[in-house]
Subunit: 292 residues, 4 copies
C-alpha cells in the first residue's frame, strides 16, 4: 500500500517509522524538514510539498489541530492531489464539527475519510502500542486495518460516522482532565489536614485507582513534576473546549467540563501554559492558599 | 485482646467474624438483634446494651454516621464503661469535625482514639481484604495493628491525628463520586453522537482507566444496573457533603464537589435516593434529554 | 406592650432605640454592657441576665447566628422565663433547621414563635426603614405588627410557618451574593479588554441594573473599597452555606451557590475574611491574574 | 449625512424609521423585502442588493450574528462598495474576535469601524431610548454622535478599540442571564419551602433589586410567561458562549458563566429553544422536581 504521511511531530514520526519497518512504501512531509530526515534515511520519499502525495492509496495526517490540518491537507492541495477512491486517515485530535466537514468534503470528491485518533503518548507510539479509536465505513476500516495493526495494539471501532471517533477521543481526554483536576482537589483537601499528597495519591493509585492514567499523573502531581510537558496546559484547555463544543451542539450539559475550563484559564493566567497539563492539579493548591 | 465490636451491619458483621476466626475474644452489640446471631454462634458474647462492654481493651465501632455513632457509643454509656487506657477504633466514615471531638473526648477520659475508616465493600470485608486508612498515636497504632492485619490486606497510616484518616477517607470517596460523574458526563457526550456508552466505557476501562473503581462502576453505568445498592445515593450525597465541610473548614475550594452535590440533589429530587450511588451517572443523561 | 430586646449589636441597638422612641416599655440585654448604655439612658431597663426578662409580652432577639441565639435565648433561660403565651420574635438571619426547632420548642412551651429577619443595614435600621420578612401564625403577626411598623417601612408576610421567612431571607442574601460575584466576573471580563470596571459598572447600574443592591455594591467594587465591612466575607460565606443547607434538605440544586461558596473560600484562603462581602468580586480579578 | 442601513429586523427597522424621522437620507436593505416597505414609504431608498449602498457616508448594520454580518456586509460586497473614509457602524451583538477582524479589515481598506451595540428591546428602540455602547476612534465617534443621539437616550463610550464595546455588551448580557438564573435558583429554593415565587420576587424587585432588569424578568418568571419571546433561549446561549470566548481569549475564569451554559443546554435539551431567555429560570424548578 502506498502511503503518504503528513506531520512528523512527536507522535507522527515514530508512527511513520513503524510503518516503514513493517515494509510499507511511504512518502512523508513536515513543515520543518529536520523531522523527516530519519524516515527518509530509512527509505521514505520526502515530499516537496503537501500536494506531492503522488499515487498514495492512503493519506495519513497527524497534525496539531483543526486549523493546521485544514491548512496543510486541504488548502495546500494535498487532498486535491489524491486519486479517486483514496483514503484520508486523520489520526489527530480534532473537533467533531471539523470531522463532519472533512468527511463531507471527501465524500464530495470521491475520497474516503476515516477518523482514527489515538490514546497514548510518544513512547507508546514508538512501541506501536497505541489504542486506535476508529470510525468510518466498515469496508474502508477493514481495508486499512493492517496499518492500524502496525501502529497500535488494539483498534476500537465506534461507528460508521467519522465524528463518532472524534467524539470518543474528546470524551477520553475529558476523562483524563477530570482525573487530574479530581486528584488536585483531593490533594488540596488532604494537605489542608496535614496529610502529604504523595502519601494519599500513592495509596489511591495502589488500590481503587490503580490505572495507568492515575498512576502516571498521580506521580507527577505528587512530585510537582510538570516539565518537560508531554502535553501542554494550552492543549489541555483546547481539548476541553472541543469536548464542550461537541457537547453543546447536542445539548449535553457537562458540569465538570465547566470546572475544568475555569481551572485551565486560572492556570494560564498564572503563566503555566507550557507546563504539562497535569499542572491543572496546582490550581486547587493555589486557590486554597497552599501554594503562592 | 478483649474486643467489643459495636455495629453488626453489612460491613461490621463480616469484620467481627474475621476477628473471631483469628481467635480474638469478642463481645458484640447491634441495635437489632438478628445480625448478632452468627457471631454469637461462633463464640462471641452478646452485649445486653452498648455499655455492657465489660473489660474490653479495644472498642471497635462500625456505625452509619456521626449521629448514630455518638448516640450508640457516647450517649449510651459505652465509652464511659471502658477502662482507662482502652482504645476506641472508629472504622466508619464520619466527619473530620466529629473525629476531632471524639479524639478530644477520649483524651479527656484517659482513653485512646484511633480513626480507621476502610476502603472496600461487603465482599472485600468478608475476605479480610480491606484497605485500612488509619491515624492516631503511633504506639497505639502499633498495638492494634494485629487486628488490622486480620481485617485488611493493607493498613495505610496517615498521621498522629485521627482526623487525618477521616480527611483521607472523605477524599477517597470524593474521588469515587467524581469518577462516577465523569463517566456519566462522558457517556452522555458519546451517546449524543450515537456511540453506545457501554462500548465507550469498555474501551476506557480496558485501557487508561483499567482500575477497580472504573471497571466496577463503569459496568454498572453501561448496564444501567443500580439495584441492589451497594452504597446508596443518599449516602453518596452525605459523603460529598462531609468532604465539602472538611474542605470548607480549611478554606479549600473544590469545584467538582459542587457539581457532584448538585447532581446528587437532582437525582434525589427525581426519586433515586435508594439506588446505588453509581446512578449519579444518570443525571447527565436526564439533563441532556436522553432519558425521561 | 412590654418588650425584652436581646442583642444590642449594630442592628439591634438602633432598633431598640426606635421602639423606645415610639413609647414602648423596654428591657434590654447584651453580652457586653457598653451598647446597652444608650438605650438605658433613654429609659430602657437593663436586664441583669438574659433570663431577667420579667413580664415581657414579647421577646425580640437580634443575635449573630444559630449558636449564639441558642446559647443566649435558650440555654441562658430567657425563653424559660417567659410567661405562657408570650411571643419570641427572632429577627436575625438563622438557618431554616434552627427556625424549625425553635418553633417546635416554643410550641411545646405554650409560647409563640415569629421569624422576622430583615433587609437593610445599620443606617436603614436606625431610620426605621427596614424591610421585614415575617412568617408565623397570622393572629400573632397581627398582634406584633405595630412593632414592625416602628422598625420598618414595610412588612412582607410569607406564610404561617416561621421557616418560610428564614428561607426567604436566605434566598435574598443569596441573590445579593450572586449579584456581587456576577459584577466581579463581568468586571474581570471588561478589564481584560482594557475597559475600566468603574466605567462599566457605572453604566450598568445607571441603566438595566439601577437597583440599590447594584448601585451600593457596584460602587464599592469600582473603587475597591471593602473596609470598613458592613457585612464580612465570613458572614457572607455563612449565609451562602445556610442557603445551600436549606436547598439541600429539599433537594434543590443551586449551581450558582456552589460557585459562590468556592469564591468565598478562595477569598478566605487569601486572608480576606474581615473585608466587606463585596470583596467576593476580587476573586475573579485574582484568578485571572489582574490582581496579585 | 447619507446613511445605508442594512438589517430591518425587529430592532433595525424602528431604528431606521427614527433616523428618517430625524431628517436623514437613508438607503435600506433587508434579506426579505417586507420589512423595508415602511421605511421606503417614509422616504428611504430601497437598495437592490447589499452592495448598492451608493454614496453613503455611514453604513449601519443591525444583523443577527457574526456569520450573517460577514455574509451580508463583507461577502456581498457592501463594504467594498463604500467610498474611502466611510464609517461602518455595527450595532449588533457580535463576538470580540469578529469585531477585531472587522476593524482590521476596515483599516486595511481605508474605512473606519465603530462598534455600537445597544441595550434595549424593540419598544425601546422604537422610542429612540436605547443605551448605546460605543467604541472606536474618538474623532469618528464624535462625527456619528448625532446619529446616536437620534437612536438612543445615552451613548456610553468605552474606548478607542471597537472590541471594547463588544466586550462590554457581552458582559451586560452575561449580567442579565446571571440575574435570570439567580432568580430561578432562588425561586426554586423558596418554593421548596412553600413560599410562592411570585410573592418572593415581588418583594425582592420592590426593594433591593428594584431595577428594570429584575422587574421585567422577575414578572415573567413569577407568571411563567415565556412567550412570545423577546429574545430566545437559543440567542441567550449564543451570547453566553460569546462572553465565554471573550473571557477565554484573555484567561478570565467565569464560574457563573459555566453554570449558565449548562442551564441553557438543559433547557434546549428539553425543547425550550424558542422560549424567551427568561425561561432559563425554569431549569432549577425542573432539576428540583418542582416542574415536570
Amino acid at each position: 500500500m502506498h502511503i503518504a504521511f503528513i506531520g512528523m511531530g512527536g507522535m507522527g514520526q515514530p508512527m511513520a517509522l513503524n510503518l516503514l519497518a513493517a515494509g510499507h512504501e511511504l512518502a512523508v512531509w513536515n513543515r520543518s524538514k529536520e523531522p523527516t530526515q530519519e524516515p527518509v534515511a530509512r527509505g521514505a520519499r520526502a515530499c516537496r510539498a503537501p500536494d506531492d502525495v503522488g499515487t498514495a492509496d492512503v493519506l495519513i495526517s497527524m497534525l496539531a489541530d483543526d486549523d493546521v490540518t485544514h491548512s496543510v491537507v486541504v488548502e495546500s492541495g494535498a487532498l486535491a492531489a489524491l486519486k479517486s477512491g483514496a483514503v484520508w486517515i486523520n489520526m489527530a485530535t480534532v473537533s467533531v464539527a471539523f470531522t463532519q466537514r472533512m468527511a463531507q468534503l471527501c465524500s464530495d470528491r470521491q475520497l474516503r475519510y476515516v477518523a482514527a485518533p489515538v490514546l497514548g503518548r510518544v513512547d507508546v507510539a514508538a512501541a506501536g502500542q497505541l489504542n486506535i479509536l476508529a470510525a468510518g465505513e466498515e469496508a474502508t476500516l477493514d481495508e486499512v486495518q493492517p496499518l492500524f495493526d502496525v501502529l497500535g495494539k488494539q483498534t476500537w471501532r465506534f461507528g460508521e460516522l467519522p465524528e463518532q471517533a472524534a467524539a470518543v477521543k474528546l470524551a477520553a481526554n475529558f476523562m483524563l482532565a477530570s482525573a487530574i483536576e479530581t486528584m488536585g482537589e483531593s490533594a488540596a483537601l488532604v494537605e489542608a489536614w496535614g496529610v502529604g499528597k504523595g502519601e494519599f495519591l500513592n495509596m489511591m493509585t495502589s488500590t481503587l485507582f490503580s490505572a495507568p492514567a492515575y498512576k502516571n499523573y498521580g506521580a507527577m502531581i505528587a512530585e510537582d513534576r510538570y516539565q518537560p510537558a508531554g502535553f501542554t496546559m494550552k492543549l489541555g484547555l483546547k481539548d476541553v473546549r472541543l469536548a464542550q463544543q461537541a457537547a453543546e451542539s447536542r445539548n449535553v450539559p457537562m458540569g465538570i467540563a465547566g470546572v475544568l475550563r475555569d481551572s485551565y484559564l486560572d492556570a494560564l493566567a498564572h503563566g503555566d501554559e507550557k507546563l504539562d497539563w497535569a499542572a491543572l492539579a496546582t490550581v486547587s493548591a493555589r486557590r486554597s492558599g497552599q501554594k503562592k
